[in-house]
């Protein structure tokens, strides 16, 4: 089944709404607080992460737990590239950095691309042993890989500066970089999902044996999905590193992966639209939920903040969604302008009928 080609009207509407988004960003950059801008940057990075994580988990149906590891690889790669040789000499106090890396210096866009490719390379290295057997092991291999990245980042002092981490990164990430890459990522992934490759991924998700009988090379398709996810997650790691400007091994914990898992499950596994919606919702909502960890007084009861309560709420909501509404917000449906107008028309008809 061929997806309907984008009509003139739809293309125009997409362009106009992208323009509106850019106008909003311009407004936000000039007329809102630093805090708002920071959250907007975070939202963009989380959209990139959620949409690409959804490719392997939702579209190709292979359960994987890699984002924190891939974020770390991307962040370290791009940070090592953008730090100037003088800055590196200054911050590597335990042991000096190894030679070619210590002189490496390039611009921000180059470092982001490098972050993407290095991460994709690691994804490929993991995909080959795992998908030769069966997808089941992917979860445990990626979970273990997250631990290994932590161990390596703490011990390979000559490259990563060990537990001290890398400090003083230039704060290159602004709204234009983060949202520009975010829009580009969403565009690429939507095109991918609607291509023959995307349909092959969905076929593998539904029934691997049947897909193979139809001539789909399941190993190649799964590897492609995982490597692509890796590429975009690596780029997001680079963006994140230059947003917070200090990275260390303890930053990239499993918490990141867990947050993303919640996002794609609540959005609806397999729906890019759902991933975007939930990324916005959860990132903004997560900021809002910080109040449960702070001391406050409700109706005369003094309530000491409970650290960790946010994660308890998150994990309970994940289990709850899986049991009660496993399809999430969007199910596997996507947003199209046609559906949007259908809904508008229905609403208007309902109003006139009254």
């Amino acid at each position: 089944m061929q997806p309907p080609a984008l009509g003139h009207r739809d293309r125009l509407l997409t362009l106009v709404s992208t323009g509106l988004l850019l106008f909003f960003l311009w407004w936000a950059e000039n007329y809102t607080s630093d805090y708002t801008i920071r959250i907007l940057n975070q939202i963009a990075i989380f959209i990139i992460l959620a949409v690409s994580y959804n490719v392997i988990n939702g579209i190709a149906g292979q359960f994987s737990l890699e984002p924190n590891a891939f974020l770390a690889i991307g962040a370290y790669t791009s940070a090592i590239i953008t730090l100037s040789p003088e800055e590196k000499a200054r911050s590597f106090i335990i042991e000096p950095m190894v030679w070619p890396l210590s002189q490496l210096h390039a611009s921000f866009p180059v470092s982001l691309l490098a972050a993407g490719f290095v991460t994709a390379f690691f994804a490929l290295l993991m995909a080959i042993p795992v998908f030769r057997v069966r997808g089941d092991y992917l979860a445990i291999v990626t979970l273990g890989f997250g631990e290994v990245i932590h161990v390596v980042a703490s011990n390979l002092v000559k490259v990563t500066n060990g537990p001290l981490g890398l400090k003083g990164l230039p704060a290159y990430t602004n709204l234009w970089w983060s949202w520009g890459i975010c829009i580009a990522t969403v565009f690429c992934i939507v095109r991918l999902v609607n291509s023959s490759y995307g349909r092959a991924m969905k076929a593998v998700r539904e029934d691997e044996t049947a897909a193979q009988a139809m001539g789909i090379n399941a190993f190649r398709i799964k590897t492609l999905a995982f490597t692509l996810s890796g590429f975009f997650e690596g780029v997001a790691g680079g963006l994140l590193a230059h947003l917070i400007t200090t990275i260390s091994p303890s930053l990239f914990t499993f918490m990141f992966t867990f947050n993303l898992l919640i996002i794609i499950v609540i959005g609806g596994l397999g729906s890019t639209t759902g991933s975007i919606l939930a990324a916005v919702l959860i990132t903004a909502g997560g900021e809002f939920l910080r109040f449960v960890e702070e001391p406050m007084t409700i109706l005369g009861f003094h309530y000491e903040g409970i650290p960790g309560m946010r994660m308890v709420i998150f994990s309970m909501s994940l289990i709850g969604v899986m049991i009660l509404a496993p399809r999430g917000i969007m199910g596997r449906n996507e947003f199209t302008w046609q559906k949007f107008f259908d809904i508008v028309r229905k609403l208007r008809a309902g109003r006139q009928g009254r």
Partner: protein, 295 residues
């Protein structure tokens, strides 16, 4: 290398191997029946250790009574998890069960932080488990003997249940074809619940033993042993109870001996299991004693 030193390291390796074996048996049993990687297995270990800790320090029970209560309550928790979280989604696609398992694992860890706090607690060590004795210049901790005895005993018990008892026949039948088993009138839900309870009891034994050896008890204590136990289970051939024990032994020996030979690598110790897993998947994905995978 000095032969005494080598033998001493082998003793340490076998001790660690027994821990991994004990945990891997529970992992492999649940996976064998349900084809579900039970991520919460390592966290049940943590729960059991905390229950034992509080029974000793708050209720002042003797160690054997508190260990018994910890094992019992952890088994019950395993039942609750199956009943509350896994049973409602048994019919949905497998990815749903995996996500729920991750959710439960994370829930247990963070409940631990909220209820008990993240500061490590020092697990008590009853006299009977401490001290060492010397055989031919090699020091052997009494705890090593205990863990060896407990692991072998539980291995025989589980092997008997899985391969000889009626419920074991049902468990193995469910792992082959759940639809047909349902048609045969087997109460699939209770068999699966039983599997979870047994798996949790094994995790509880492992958790108490683990904390006797490494007494710093904190909510994330089960994560790394849980991961390694899974590697051990794959190494032995996932689903195979005896294989899991063999895999655990090999993994424990490998970790201790590699660090003994190359002390520089001690920082990378936790990465060894992962490298073994990757090499294994490339060369012999069915493990040492596993049957060929059907799908």
């Amino acid at each position: 290398m000095d032969p005494n030193y080598a033998l001493q390291q082998i003793v340490f390796g076998l001790t660690l191997g027994c821990f991994y074996a004990l945990l891997a048996i529970g992992y492999t049993m649940v996976y064998g029946v349900l084809r579900l990687i039970n991520f919460a297995h390592g966290d049940l270990l943590m729960v059991a250790a905390y229950i034992a800790f509080f029974a000793i320090f708050i209720f002042h029970l003797p160690w054997y009574a508190s260990f018994f209560i910890a094992i019992l309550l952890t088994g019950f928790l395993g039942y609750l998890i199956d009943r509350g979280a896994y049973r409602p989604i048994r019919r949905s696609p497998r990815i749903g069960a995996l996500i729920t398992a991750i959710g439960i694992s994370f829930l247990l860890e963070n409940l631990g932080i909220v209820l008990i706090g993240g500061r490590p607690k020092s697990f008590p060590s009853p006299k009977i488990f401490s001290g060492t004795f010397t055989v031919a210049h090699i020091q052997i901790p009494w705890l090593s003997v205990w863990i060896f005895v407990v692991t072998i005993a539980l291995l025989f018990l589980v092997a008997y249940i899985v391969y000889r008892s009626r419920v074991g026949i049902a468990m193995r039948a469910i792992s082959r074809d759940i639809e047909t088993v349902l048609l045969m009138g087997v109460d699939v839900n209770s068999v699966i619940s039983f599997t979870f309870v047994l798996g949790s009891v094994l995790a509880a034994f492992g958790g108490i033993m683990w904390c006797l050896k490494y007494p710093a008890l904190e909510p994330f204590v089960g994560v790394i042993p849980g991961l390694k136990a899974f590697v051990a289970a794959v190494l032995g051939g996932i689903g195979n109870v005896v294989g899991a024990a063999v895999g655990g032994m090999i993994l424990g020996l490998a970790e201790v001996l590699i660090v003994a030979i190359q002390p520089d690598w001690s920082g990378y110790r936790d990465a060894i299991a992962f490298c073994i897993l990757i090499v294994l998947l490339l060369t012999r994905p069915t493990g040492i004693m596993g049957e060929p995978l059907s799908d």
